[in-house]
Amino acid sequence: MAPRRRRGADAAEADAASETDAPKNRPPNTAFRQQRMRAWQCVLTPKLIVIVFSFLSIIYLGFGAYLTYLAHTIRDIQLDYTDCTREAPKDTLGPMPAERISAHFSGNNTLDPYKAQWKVEVKDIQYLGFTAPRNVCTIEYNIPEDLKPTVSFYYHLENFYQNHRRYVASFNAKQLLGDAVDGGTINGSTCDPLAHDANGKIIYPCGVVANSIFNDTFSSPTLLNPALKDGDNVTPNSTVYEMKTTGIAWPGLKDLYGVTKYKLEDIVPPPNWNETYRNGYIKGIAEPPDLREDEHFQNWMMLAAAPNFYKLYQRNDQDVMRSGTYQVTIVDTYDTVVYNGRKSFLITTISTMGSRNPWPGIIFLIVGGICLILDVYFILSFFLWKPRKLGDPSYLSWNQPSAAAQPHAGAAQ
């Protein structure tokens, strides 16, 4: 607001004149402008404190118990096959070191989940347009209990950093959507240094993320010693526990991907895709993958926050996974040893809290416990040991005896 002036050749003079007429400057006397709004003054009285902490301890102890229970309902087994190609017996099954296995089942069953067997053999694997010899790792493991659906099959990578600054951006969203993004755009984009090959052909999908995709393949687990089913008098040699590779990624992710509109002669697969696209993209034979349907790819593109991560590989939502000995064959092409990484797979049931994780329950119980202890302390302290009268004026600093020498404090004497 412009103040009135004594001397003034400008319009403010006129303002000044009119200002004197009515109390123009009087501030409105409203609750808001006068800061008199209705409010609750949060005074932490002993009563309130005790109520709050009692409430907290009840809530957290209750939830803690529930979450702990949930975590313990989960059954899972995880087998680390990183060293399969080097350590596993060739062609014949041998025992797998127990430290490669972790499992959670409820105890007393004859099948010991920690006793697994593995072997490695070289097999010719049929790829798009060619076959090539690959190490195939076969692992036999025990599942002592029936697993209720959903049973999920995850692969687990350790020490793989999907979260580096350049890595996380190293893809081209438009290209993945199917757009034929031209080379000029791709070059110098976040896809560098995997934007084009030596011949200047665009790499599709470009970027280091797609290039580094985990390319081991897992079979569905096969039950080796199936129990006799009702009405079936021949014990089958084995039963495949069929796991689907669809529905393993969030359905919404499909919106981010599309069939590429590139001409095949313009593009090359990323260098690491050599394993599957040895001769590049060839029309009719080695078509580029349909990313929209490739949920493994989509899952891979969900860049994990931490260097140790699980990704869902396959799942079965209908069938109970019977207890027994299962076999999984893995085409082992992804070398984790070079980067000190490890890989494993996990078969687990799922609860509303997801897979097995005891920590939430523990945390809740700890918090609840602490609140309970504090609550007891507060009750003892505020009500029994040395209760302080609410609003006791003798606590005011100017009523303190130490300040008696000062004026104003004289009143306290």
């Binding site: 950093y161 687990t348 504090l374 606590y395």
Partner: protein, 1545 residues
């Protein structure tokens, strides 16, 4: 306005007995003061150079000070060093000597232009300059740097444009704010620079050559002209409104004013006896000494001045001088032809240059420092009001240089040939040294050699910029100092840009955070570099090379990337938010209806929006007196005439006294006010019946005394009627006021006087039917009860501060010669005739004492009948003395003293220096809050002490320490002597407290914020202050002051005010607040951390330079105790919470780096990072800063002690900062790792087994609880949960959900974040996480808070509990709608002590009071002498503040410490007239109550003292020699010494 000129002209040939006034000019003697003052100013400037160099620079660039130095080569005596610091010589109608010209004949010296600019910017320079200033802020540079970093994608910045938005926003907002603030100043500057003044044009001013420019400067000039044009065109675009009036002004300029200068001025007057010539003017102290002329003789022609007498040689003897012989100095060289072109034209102030002639008309404001050459008064006198300079509203007399008085017209100016040699510009308001030199033919020797003449110029001949000419038709002068060289400008502080203390301290914390940031980034860089050095990591195999190529370079790049990511550690949003918070705080301060002053429609207007928190930490308040504490309205309230007390009044002081006595003030005052109103009606009725006085305006009546009116009507006998009449007559005759008739029906007569008290006396005489119609040449015209009478005034002996009295010698219509004398009671009593009127004197003394108790200023009126012979004898002596050449003033005093004896007491008067409403209450309240209030005033010591008592700053229990170094007029004393004296004084004072002024004591003092006990007060005057502020003594002075409850600094100049403020501010490292209303307060207002201006009726300078403008002093309590405290607490909390919340957020990002090889990738979606400080968390914290209240305003005022936390600055401490920081880090750990544990340590944290461990989804898991934690934390730290706060917290919390939903669902461009919301929100893990994370985060804080509140409660916690218990319900009910001070009775529960003491109060004996709370103690009425112990009294030796009433007790304590008189009690009032006198009875009752304490103190009432010192001065037979000696002592030591000497047997 009275046109005194014709009257004086008629009196051209003065009859021997015509009225003669001997004027003792009210100038202050200053010896050796300027240099020191200058030093102190320099020091002051130095102190704040850092903050102010901007201002200086701008001022300098605007003025034409640039000197190229090239012209200095010829070694002229005048050095133009650009600052104008060299003595200046100004030439009038004389060519410049060669050495002052350069090769091209242009003047060498460049003077500062009269155009001033206080604004920082011009529209053109605004953008670069403002940006330049803004980027002085280290944080802004950092933000700019980050913005630049983000532009390079290599550092991983996501969106440079978006990133720059906050910085641009804050720069623009700050810029706009600066612009708005500066715009006001610009407007004012323009207004001032274009104000009209009459300047002589058509005449060549040789001193300044506008076109004197070298090529380079011409280029610069052309530039500035070009830019000026742009400026004006821009201006005219912006401010179309302003164009019109300025055009009008320019139209006026073209119009030569048909004014006074064309009117014939009677030359005859010059030929009066007054102008008889001699080399020495006997009647003035100005000496004109011929000096040998080195100049070649000029052609000897021309005529003698009319009326000149025979020639006198330079060797005129003393005797000859005594015969009024003098040469009439005349600047006009009659030989010069008149061109006739010269005219006084209206021109703008800014066009004035040094050497211009100007004519100033009545009421004009002076545009520059001007030497007066002539005025409309033939005596060359003019009146000025110097309120803008020193705050005094009375009129001061300034005199034209004697030699210039012949100048009347423009044509005279053309012919005046002279040189003015002047000292360089300096800021001392009371000192100036210069000389006019001219050559003149000696009278009687018309053809002889012109003699070189010179006349000294002092401050008496100078009109200073900023003053107003009053009661003088015109004054003609020459411009000597312009623009920034003027004294007012040199005194004015530099417009400071104030920054709140917290803002300054924040820099340290910001630097701390920079440190943390650097450490974080360094860790990140090193760790990241070494990660990239690995060959057995996934990055080596899958990422095809690092960003930097080599690990080292990669680490280096990562370092900068980390700075971008962690930039929130030094949150730019903090600065934005604080700006917003402060602005809104200012808005609410503006909105407070409790600080709205309806009389002038003035709310509290914050001018600086960013220092509201400083208001909450004020420890020292420096207040001006006049217009700030007082209304500067003097009202005649009571009188004691012939032993009868008259008058009804209820003063603030009395209200305060009653309050302390436990009277219900509200009820009581309402009752009394009603009584007074009724009395007023009766009185007016009575007066009208008696005589329908046309000059009496009912509303102006201040002396409400129906009984007086009755007595005047003769209802109680003739004797009393006569006495009353005579008393009023005395009032009407004994004064020096100037009447002003205001036309109207009925006509109004108002009075202007050098002292407002005097005007009040004369005004009351008018109201009672004794109207002064005017002063004629030989007397005063009175209207006595409708009858016009003329009283011949033979002599008027004017008031001065050492005499403390004035007298008029009047020939009454019946032929008797009466001397009326009025003055301080002790002065009058000591001159009463021995052995008479004993009963009357006793009664009057008692009445005066009671008046004084009420806080009224008392004067005594006495008369003396003179025989014709007595008068004639005395007159001879007087005339001789008045023509003395040496010690004239002292001689005059001796002569005056001779006649002012043997007086007969008529009575006494009591005038109220009206305090502003509620001042004592406010001061008491502020005192309770622990704030120390010092009064810095330009007023007299006596007045200041008087006010000190009425507003409870001083009381009678206090031992007044008077620091006084007596000024030696001879100038013999050296600076060292003064310093030694001052130091001795200080040591004496410090010794009382057992201190020595050592550094340890200072160290201790720095920590001690407790207000000192109310045992000592300190009074110091400006001259002494000058010495104690010197480097060596400052510390001692400071320590001494700190021990005193009240400090009064009197007679201080604006610069000294600022110096005192600066001393306390820097010396004690405390927050200071200055409050004032006049331009003389500007410097201190600017110097203090917070400047408050009282928007009064007159003068806006203080308001313009202040940070807060309020209407009344009492609003200060609300501003400081309520808004200041709130703002400080709020801001401290806001800042802490801000740092905290950014710690949580930033460190959460940091923890993630541990899991990504410190490769600086975001855990959060990028929009979260943008939104975090914008929407997720900033609004609650801002709202907390704006609206939070720990206790309401009423409770804040009821329990002012709560303010002390602010004084001790406990709300914003480094401990608090680090506690919040650590809390933030702890919470960041929790916020990051709890979700991490929930999500990452398991294959799938989702209920359907799908992947939720993706980076940005984990970000969701972290961000949501973090935001809720932060907002809840802020809510917990908020005391007051109103619906708005809760709503905003809720909305902020919901907003992150809303945003996540909208952003992740709407478009696939969210990338990997796409569809996060439904995925995350459907997980139980998420919700569990959302519950448990905030709980764990907040648990420590909550527990600490619970324990603190219960076990170690702060004061405010207790008070809040009391509020909860309903103890404040009674006062809370009375909302602050009216802004009335809260009744303290309501808080009995608040401080238990108060109830105790109040119960004890009734029966307590005096002995107990020492231990009782000072506030609760019954007040000892101010003028009652009480417990002074002699030991302490020694320290205040040399007091001279014995003027009106209270102060006298220190005097008699010394004089009469072991005498006891029984006269004090039970002195019967002469029971002649029996009537109800409510006011009188009231005071008597109060006095009786304190009587026991008086007895206990074994001391005397002032009434008793007066009766003892009465007539002491009427002793006969003192030789004049001895008298002379006494008087010189008196002049030096003040009246206390005077009385002492006289009483000594």
């Amino acid at each position: 306005m009275v046109n005194r000129q014709p009257e004086e002209e008629e009196a051209g040939d003065q009859p021997p007995l015509s009225m003669q006034r001997s004027r003792w000019a009210t100038r202050k003697l200053t010896v050796k003061s300027s240099s020191l003052k200058r030093l102190s100013l320099v020091h002051r400037k130095h102190n704040r150079a850092a903050s102010n160099e901007k201002k200086r620079a701008s001022g300098g660039s605007e003025s034409l000070r640039q000197t190229d130095g090239a012209g200095n080569t010829d070694g002229a005596s005048v050095t133009s060093d650009g600052d104008g610091d060299a003595p200046r010589t100004v030439f009038f109608n004389l060519p410049l000597p060669d050495e002052l010209k350069d090769e091209e004949g242009r003047p060498l010296q460049q003077y500062t232009r009269n155009k001033i600019r206080t604004a920082k910017y011009t529209p053109l320079s605004f953008i670069p300059k403002n940006l330049w200033f803004q980027f002085h802020n280290i944080a802004n540079i950092f933000f700019l740097f980050v913005v630049i970093l983000v532009i390079f994608p290599i550092f991983g910045g996501v969106n440079p444009g978006l990133n720059a938005v906050p910085l641009i926003f804050i720069i623009v907002v700050t810029g706009i704010k600066d612009a708005v603030e500066d715009y006001r100043r610009t407007i004012l500057d323009i207004e001032l620079n274009n104000a009209p003044v009459h300047r002589l044009s058509g005449w060549e001013n040789v001193n300044v050559e506008e076109d004197n420019v070298s090529t380079w400067r011409r280029f610069k000039k052309a530039n500035s002209r070009f830019f000026g044009k742009i400026w004006y065109s821009i201006e005219s675009l912006w401010k179309r409104k302003d164009v019109e009036p300025s055009r009008k002004i320019s139209a006026i300029y073209d119009d030569p004013r048909a004014s006074i200068e064309t009117r014939t001025t009677p030359w005859e007057s010059v030929g009066s006896p007054r102008s008889r010539q001699s080399f020495v003017s006997a009647r003035e102290e100005i000496q004109m000494t011929p000096v040998p002329s080195p100049l070649p003789p000029q052609p000897a022609k021309g005529e003698l001045h009319p009326g000149a007498e025979g020639p006198r040689g330079p060797s005129t003897s003393e005797e000859a001088q005594a015969h009024f012989q003098n040469v009439k100095g005349d600047l006009i060289n009659q030989e010069i032809p008149i061109s006739g072109k010269a005219r006084f034209h209206k021109d703008a102030w800014k066009n004035l240059v040094v050497g211009d002639f100007v004519r100033i008309y009545n009421d004009d404001e002076l545009p520059a420092d001007i030497i007066i050459l002539a005025t409309s008064d033939p005596d060359g006198q003019c009146y000025v009001e110097t309120k803008n300079l020193d705050g005094e509203t009375n009129l001061k007399v300034r005199t034209a240089a004697r030699c210039g008085r012949t100048l009347k017209h423009a044509r005279d100016c053309e012919r005046a040939q002279f040189i003015v040699e002047s000292e360089p510009p300096q800021p001392n308001l009371y000192k100036y040294n210069g000389a006019i030199k001219w050559r003149q033919r000696l009278p009687g020797n018309p053809h002889g050699e012109p003699v070189e003449m010179s006349e000294g110029l002092t401050i008496d001949n100078m009109l200073l910029r900023g003053c107003n000419l009053r009661n003088t038709e015109w004054a003609l002068g020459i411009v000597l100092f312009t623009g920034h060289d003027t004294k007012i400008m040199m005194n004015a502080g530099i417009t400071p840009s104030k920054r709140a203390r917290i803002a300054r301290e924040l820099n340290f914390n910001v630097i701390c955070n920079f440190g943390i940031l650097l450490v974080m980034c360094l860790i990140v860089a090193i760790a990241n570099g070494s990660s990239w050095a690995k060959t057995d990591a996934s990055l080596y195999w899958f990422e095809y090379g690092s960003i930097g190529g080599t690990p080292g370079l990669t680490g280096f790049i990562t370092f900068w990337a980390a700075i971008i990511v962690f930039q929130n550690l030094v949150p730019i949003s903090l600065y934005i938010s604080l700006e917003i918070v402060r602005t809104l705080q200012a808005f609410f301060i503006y909105s407070d209806v409790g600080m709205y002053y309806d009389k002038i429609d003035q709310p509290c207007v914050p001018k600086s929006w960013n220092i509201s928190d400083d208001v909450g930490q004020i420890e020292y308040i420096f207040s001006d007196k006049t217009g700030t504490l007082t209304q500067n309205v003097m009202e005649f309230k009571k009188a004691s005439i012939n032993g009868q007390p008259y008058g009804e009044a209820y003063t603030e002081a009395q209200a305060g006294m009653n309050k302390r006595m436990g009277v219900d003030v509200g009820q009581e005052s309402a009752k009394i006010i009603a009584e007074i109103a009724a009395a007023k009606v009766r009185a007016i009725q009575g007066l009208r019946e008696l005589h329908d006085n046309p000059y009496l305006h009912d509303e102006d009546l201040t002396f409400i005394a129906p009984d007086f009116v009755e007595d005047l009507a003769g209802k109680n006998g003739l004797q009393q009627q006569r006495a009353n009449e005579h008393f009023m007559l005395a009032l009407a005759l004994c004064h020096t006021v100037i009447t002003e008739k205001q036309p109207g029906d009925p006509p109004k007569i108002t009075f202007k006087a050098q002292s407002p008290d005097e005007a009040a006396l004369v005004a009351t005489a008018r109201d009672m039917g004794f109207t002064v119609l005017g002063m004629s040449s030989d007397g005063i015209d009175l209207n006595v009860m409708g009858e016009d009478k003329h009283f011949e005034v033979l002599n008027t002996i004017e008031f001065n501060s050492s005499r403390k009295r004035m007298s008029s010698i009047v020939r009454m219509p019946d032929g008797k010669i009466l001397l009326f004398c009025k003055g301080a009671d002790s002065v009058i009593y000591s001159r009463l005739k021995r052995g008479e009127q004993s009963e009357l004197r006793r009664e009057t003394a008692q009445h005066l004492e009671m008046f004084a108790v009420e806080g009224l200023r008392t004067l005594c009126i006495a008369e003396r009948q003179l025989t014709e012979q007595q008068y004639i004898d005395w007159r001879k002596e007087y005339d001789l003395a008045s023509t003395a050449l040496e010690h004239r003033e002292e001689k005059l005093e001796v002569v005056a003293d001779k006649i002012e004896q043997e007086l007969t007491l008529l009575g006494g008067t009591a005038i109220e220096d009206r305090l502003q409403d509620g001042v004592p209450d406010s001061i008491a309240l502020l005192g309770d809050a622990g704030i120390k209030l010092w009064v810095l005033t330009g007023d007299k010591v006596e007045t200041a002490i008087n006010i000190g008592f009425s507003c409870n700053l001083l009381n009678n229990d206090m031992d007044l320490i008077r620091l006084q170094v007596i000024e030696d007029e001879s100038g013999d004393s050296t600076e060292d002597e003064y310093l030694r004296l001052a130091e001795a004084d200080l040591d004496k004072g410090l010794a009382k407290f057992g201190m020595t002024g050592s550094d340890e004591e200072l160290k201790h003092a720095l920590k001690d914020h407790e207000p000192p006990a109310a045992t000592h007060g300190l009074v110091i005057d400006g001259f002494t202050l000058r010495w104690v502020l010197s480097d060596g003594l400052r510390q001692k002075f400071l320590l001494l002051c700190k021990q005193c409850k009240s400090v009064l600094c009197c007679r201080v100049s604006p610069a000294q005010k600022a110096a005192v403020v600066s001393m306390v501010k820097h010396g004690l490292d405390v927050m200071t607040l200055s409050i004032g209303d006049g331009a003389n307060d500007v410097a201190m207002i600017q110097e203090a951390d917070v400047g408050v201006g009282i928007a009064g009726v007159e003068g806006r300078q203080a308001v313009m330079s202040s940070d807060y403008a309020i209407g009344q002093f009492r609003f200060l309590q609300r501003l400081v105790l309520v808004h200041g405290r709130w703002s400080y607490r709020r801001l401290a909390e806001t800042i802490s919470n801000f740092f905290y919340k950014n710690m949580v957020w930033t460190w959460a990002i940091f923890w993630f780096q541990v899991f990504c090889n410190f490769d600086i990738s975001y855990i959060f979606d990028y929009t979260y990072i943008l939104m975090f400080n914008l929407f997720f968390t900033s609004v609650p914290v801002v709202l907390m800063g704006v609206l939070d209240q720990d206790v309401s305003d009423t409770v804040s005022l009821a329990v002012p002690q709560l303010y002390r936390r602010g004084i001790e600055r406990l709300e914003w401490t480094q401990t608090k900062f680090w506690a919040y920081m650590l809390d933030g880090i702890y919470q960041s750990v929790v916020s990051f790792f709890i979700p991490f544990v929930f999500v990452v340590l398991t294959a799938a944290a989702s209920g359907n087994g799908l992947d939720i461990a993706e980076r940005t989804r984990l970000g969701c898991y972290i961000a949501h609880p973090a935001v809720i934690t932060i907002n809840t934390y802020i809510l917990i730290n908020t005391y007051r949960w109103d619906w708005l706060m809760l709503l905003v917290v809720a909305l902020s919390d919901l907003f992150i959900f809303f945003w996540t939903g909208v952003y992740s669902m709407a478009t696939t461009s969210a990338g990997s974040f796409y569809q996060s919301a439904p995925q995350v929100y459907q997980e139980l893990t998420f919700w569990m996480c959302l519950i448990v994370t905030p709980t764990i985060c907040l648990l420590p804080r909550l527990v600490v808070k619970c324990i603190q509140k219960q076990r170690f409660p702060y004061d405010v916690d207790i008070i809040r509990e009391q509020i909860r218990l309903g103890q404040f319900a009674s006062i809370e009910g009375k909302t602050a709608a009216e802004g009335t001070p809260v009744d303290e009775n309501g808080i009995e529960g608040a401080s238990a002590g108060s109830s105790e003491s109040s119960t004890r109060r009734g029966k307590a004996k005096h002995a107990h009071y020492a231990s009782v709370d000072e506030d609760r103690r019954p007040i000892y009425p101010p003028s009652v002498t009480t417990t002074h112990n002699t030991r302490t009294q020694n320290g205040s030796d040399g007091t001279n503040y014995t003027m009106h009433d209270r102060d006298r007790r220190s005097l008699d304590a010394r004089l009469e410490e072991d005498e006891i008189t029984e006269m004090d009690q039970e002195m019967p009032v002469r029971p002649s007239i029996d009537r109800a006198r409510p006011s009188y009875d009231r005071i008597r009752a109060s006095m009786d109550r304190v009587r026991p304490s008086l007895e206990a103190s074994n001391d005397f009432t002032s009434a008793a003292r007066l009766s003892r010192i009465e007539s002491s001065h009427s002793a006969q037979g003192q030789s004049s020699g001895q008298r002379r000696f006494n008087l010189t002592t008196v002049r030096k030591r003040g009246l206390s010494a005077f009385s002492k000497k006289s009483i000594d047997p």
